[in-house]
């Protein structure tokens, strides 16, 4: 079963994403900010990371840069999932190493479309 780490400071968003991704047969891990996401990755690198941008402690873009610079941090597919829905943010995320980008609000159809686009569905 492929694993997906959901990184979002909103419990509700994590729950909604978890439901959709569990239906799609992912094993789910959760983190509420970039820092705890990094520890989760150090313990075991997930296959996919669904990543919010604005979070306390460490935001999504700083997490992504640190991850991509770390050992085995190139491996996971990273899909941003954020309310930052303008071109400037999209470009910044992609150049920091994100594979895809979801603009909130998302729904099942969008999650499925994006996950199959990056080849994990």
């Amino acid at each position: 079963m492929p694993s997906c780490l959901i990184v979002d400071d909103s419990k509700v968003v994590r729950m909604v994403a978890r439901r959709i991704l569990e239906d799609l047969s992912f094993g789910i891990l959760e983190a509420e900010d970039g820092k705890s996401a990094l520890s989760s990755c150090q313990e075991k690198m997930p296959d996919v990371i669904l990543l919010d941008w604005n979070m306390p402690v460490m935001n999504g873009i700083d997490f992504l840069r640190t991850l991509r610079g770390s050992k085995e941090g190139e491996q996971p597919i990273v899909i941003f999932c954020t309310t930052e829905n303008d071109m400037a943010h999209i470009r910044e995320a992609i150049s920091a190493g994100a594979n895809e980008y979801i603009m909130k609000p998302f729904d099942r159809a969008i999650i499925e479309a994006k996950f199959s686009q990056v080849g994990v569905l």
Partner: protein, 278 residues
């Protein structure tokens, strides 16, 4: 709704679009025609039916027809056909048309434009191989409303997130308020035109590739067969026909044969694209 009214609406829609409404679709008639009736100041479908019988106004009948068709579509729908187009069909046509350097593509029920624009973006990516080529993408639909939207090339955040890879959004779209607009250079590659598949379309000339996806499913067998036969007549003998995931030519039009190993792609049974290329 009484059965006379159901039959009245069913006939209007079937004769104008080919769409067959079965009794279990009554709820669809209600949910889609009641707003239309209200816009005309009519408070029920009975009143709308009476208006239709009284005026026989063709504009109203077309409006009813358009309201009943399904326009759902998305960029790179089903992915596979677009990969097949790029990796199998296009290279062979580039060889076969090397002398003429011209390619004509028709998307025959283009809805709000995602299908022809997907092809246009894809062709733009392949531009290096196609210097000096003349490529025409004709995109047609029954409904003027969807064509207006297609021409504007303006899509909601939801629409650009279904099927469109983020790299292509970054490359070919501009943000306009809450919406995303596809660049004028891509828009300029597609010519939109109203056209009803039930009517003769022999005047549009010959095409190398036809996308006729997710529209035949709504037709009865006889209509499917008529439309496929007329598509056959305008498709180059070494051209390719792309159908939707739930559509086939099998048992409907045996002048086409499936391209082996490529689901949903068909070619002339006489001299197929793949056969011709060896």
């Amino acid at each position: 709704m009484n059965s006379q009214d159901f039959q009245l609406f069913g006939d209007i829609v079937r004769t104008r679009s080919g769409l067959v409404l079965t009794e279990e679709k009554i709820y669809l008639l209600e949910s889609r025609l009641i707003p239309l009736a209200r816009r005309r100041g009519l408070d029920s479908l009975e009143a709308l039916a009476a208006e239709v019988r009284r005026t026989k106004d063709e504009r109203l009948l077309m409006e009813i027809t358009e309201a009943m068709t399904t326009n759902e579509t998305f960029f790179f729908r089903d992915t596979r056909p677009f990969d097949t187009f790029r990796d199998v069909v296009l290279p062979q046509l580039l060889k076969a048309r090397a002398a003429k350097k011209s390619l004509r593509i028709w998307t025959a029920a283009c809805s709000t434009g995602q299908e022809p624009y997907s092809l246009a973006m894809l062709l733009k990516e392949e531009a290096a191989k196609m210097a000096g080529w003349r490529v025409e993408i004709l995109a047609t639909d029954l409904s003027n409303e969807v064509l207006e939207k297609a021409k504007a090339g303006l899509y909601s955040q939801f629409e650009v997130q279904r099927g469109l890879p983020i790299q292509l959004l970054m490359k070919h779209f501009q943000q306009v308020g809450e919406m995303w607009q596809i660049d004028s250079s891509i828009r300029a590659m597609v010519k939109f035109q109203p056209r009803n598949l039930l009517e003769d379309f022999s005047s549009i000339g010959q095409f190398d590739v036809v996308f006729c996806r997710n529209v035949l499913i709504y037709f009865d067998q006889a209509t499917k067969s008529q439309v496929l036969n007329r598509v056959y007549d305008i498709l180059a003998v070494d051209g390719a026909l792309f159908l939707g995931g739930a559509e086939t030519v099998l048992g409907i039009c045996d002048r086409f044969k499936p391209v082996e190993g490529q689901r949903g792609v068909y070619t002339s049974a006489e001299s197929g694209l793949l056969a011709a290329a060896g």
